[in-house]
Amino acid sequence: MKPLARGGDFWSGLVLAALGAWIVSEAHAWDYMTDEGPGPGFFPMWYGSLMVALSLVLVARTALKPPTREAQAAMNWKEIARALTCWVAFVACVGLMNVLGFAVSFALLTWFIVAYMARRPHREAAAIAIAGSAVFYGIFSYLLDLSLPAGYLF
């Protein structure tokens, strides 16, 4: 098991148990059985209940076997922070597409990944970003005639 999974199992179990409970509560509001057969609440009621039960098994199993100090020390928070930084950049890129359009937003994302995540020189990052964006526009917009996200400015 990966080190993070030991502590993560407890919290992911709780989150999934909450999701399962919410599914059951929502399903409760819909017909379980109608004159014509099972209603819209039938299937969610079953898998929601199963989700709650299995999540609690996961939580209980982790609670009974607490993570060792070595495992906790081995959690690579730096790596997680890098991945989340990249994800935030991706979200920002998607958000900016409404304003800047695909080409500029994607170029900014590429530049960020190359310059900051991979720590390459800014000139190299800018070159890859501009070339990448141009190639994407050329292939998808002109050759394949696909619509790319357009913004107010571009």
């Binding site: 057969g37 929601g48 994800w87 890129c93 998607v94 995540m117």
Partner: protein, 503 residues
């Protein structure tokens, strides 16, 4: 249409310039992504699927299938030269392939991987061609209860073989079922789990989740800067890539073993190419006259797993095309592709869509020949792809993901969901939750609920309808599959207690 007529028709379809071009494009793309570690066929097919919507479905399916089996050829190159599997199914090839390369026999190892892949891949296509029409005939007798039980069994197999933790695999599958249930109810149009959003009334697109979990999640998981790989050299000249006659004689049984085991495992839902390669490697070692050479560079240790992971493709297409039941993440995406193009894989698929089925089969014969030709003289060229830095590939994957999702439904809301599912995919990797059950749950959720509700409507709510011979057998088998790890655990506890008592 009998098999021979069907095949002739298939070759007419597969030899048109468009089909040949799509086949070439698919196998080359497949080889490229097979060589590159970290980018697999599910992510690639998911990313490219929305871009194929404007294409002829037969050509598009030929290309996507080419990516699927082409990746398995390419995966061996990375395993042999880098000791890193290019594909999960090539992990066993690392054991003896890399040892052969270290001893200066990289050429014969690469050559044998290509030859075994060709032989077993072709066997898989022959078996697909023979078995699929017969199975389709049998499954004509299936109705909703049988389909529900089949889907339960398929999910049970996937869950059982998906990861170390059965509980996590089951939870992953249940989340997939929940996502598939988002939107309007199939029978009553009741809005379910839509959070009051009009955009969620139509449900969440399978392809969006697949791209997010497989492609974006994979990029986030591999964002850590890595040292450039130390690759062993590829011998120059085709002569140095060909195995000797003695090597070929040693691998006779491995070809048969890989072909048969790969196809059979492929037909079983959930087992997949990685399991097939492990089993065929185990059999090969067990029957070998030189078991001591395994792990030290035995050429049979390359031929058997490489053969089996290629024969698995033909096997995996049998339940997909004749029952509409996928057995892995990649075949789940292929099922979604067929559904998006308006086809309904199932017992009538071969009868209703002979052009697509037989065209695909014929293209796979052609594709295997093309791959053999590509992978022998051009292997050095493909190996150079390993020098492309990850920081160039990562934005590329994210860009294709954005374009793919936007092409399917020009909506910024869908791109927001893509980012969300990318994070979910990353979290699943970090927390050791297997992704295949989520994708299978998602793709089978709707048909499974429909089959169950139709069954219970037929019986006016009585579960006894599931006790008919075929569904009952399948459901009991599924229950046994899920109980296996429990027995193993009980056995492990028993052994622990016994050991303590002895101490």
């Amino acid at each position: 249409m009998d098999i021979l007529t069907g095949l002739m028709h298939g070759f007419q379809v597969a030899t048109t310039p468009l089909s040949l071009g799509m086949c070439m494009l698919g196998v080359v793309l497949g080889t490229v992504i097979g060589v590159l570690p970290g980018l697999g066929p599910p992510a690639t097919i998911a990313m490219l699927l929305p871009l194929t919507m404007k294409l002829d479905p037969t050509g598009a399916m030929i290309m996507l299938a080419g990516i699927y089996y082409g990746a398995k050829y390419g995966g061996s190159t990375t395993s042999i030269l880098l000791n890193v599997p290019g594909e999960s199914s090539s992990v066993v090839t690392c054991i003896d392939g890399y040892q052969m390369a270290r001893k200066g026999r990289a050429g014969p190892a690469l050559g044998m991987a290509a030859i075994a892949s060709f032989i077993a891949g072709t066997f898989g296509v022959v078996a697909l061609m023979l078995v699929a029409p017969a199975l389709a005939q049998v499954s004509l007798a299936f109705s909703s209860p049988e389909y529900f039980a089949l889907m339960v069994m398929g999910l049970a197999m996937v869950v059982l073989l998906a990861g170390d933790s059965l509980v996590k695999a089951l939870l992953s599958m249940l989340v997939g079922l929940w996502i598939s249930g988002i939107g309007s109810d199939l029978f009553t149009a009741t809005s379910r789990f839509t959070f009051g959003s009009v955009q969620l009334l139509g449900g969440i697109e399978f392809i969006l989740v697949a791209i997010g979990v497989f492609a974006v999640g994979e990029v986030l998981a591999n964002i850590e800067p890595q040292d450039p790989p130390k690759m062993l050299p590829v011998p120059k000249g085709i002569r140095n890539l060909l195995p000797t006659w003695d090597d070929m004689k040693r691998c006779r049984f491995a070809f048969v073993n890989g072909s048969v085991v790969g196809f059979i495992i492929g037909v079983l839902p959930g087992a997949g190419a990685t399991i097939a390669s492990f089993i065929s490697y185990g059999i090969e070692k067990a029957v070998s006259r030189h078991p001591e050479e395994f792990g030290k560079g035995a050429i049979e240790g390359v031929a058997a797993p490489e053969g089996s992971n290629n024969a698995e493709t033909g096997g995996a297409l049998v339940p997909l095309l004749t029952l509409g039941i996928p057995g892995s993440g990649t075949t789940a995406i292929l099922l979604a592709a067929l559904t998006l193009w308006g086809f309904k894989p199932g017992p009538l698929f071969i009868h209703d869509q002979p052009q697509l089925f037989w065209g695909l089969v014929a293209s796979m014969y052609i594709g295997n020949v093309v791959l053999l030709i590509l992978n022998l003289p051009l292997v050095a060229l493909f190996a150079q792809l390993l020098r492309v830095p990850a920081y160039v590939l990562q934005p590329l994957i994210l860009g294709v993901s954005i374009v793919g999702v936007y092409a399917a439904d020009a909506s910024m809301f869908q791109l927001g969901l893509l980012a969300l599912f990318g994070l979910v995919g990353y979290a699943m990797r970090k927390l050791d939750f297997p992704t295949a059950p989520l994708v299978l749950g998602l793709v089978l959720g709707d048909p499974m609920e429909r089959a169950l509700r139709q069954s219970l409507m037929m019986s006016q709510g009585h579960l006894s309808i599931l006790l008919r011979p075929i569904p009952a057998t399948l459901l009991v088998f599924a229950a046994l599959l899920l109980a296996v790890p429990l027995f193993r655990k009980v056995n492990a506890i028993r052994v622990q207690v016994l050991e303590r008592e002895e101490a």
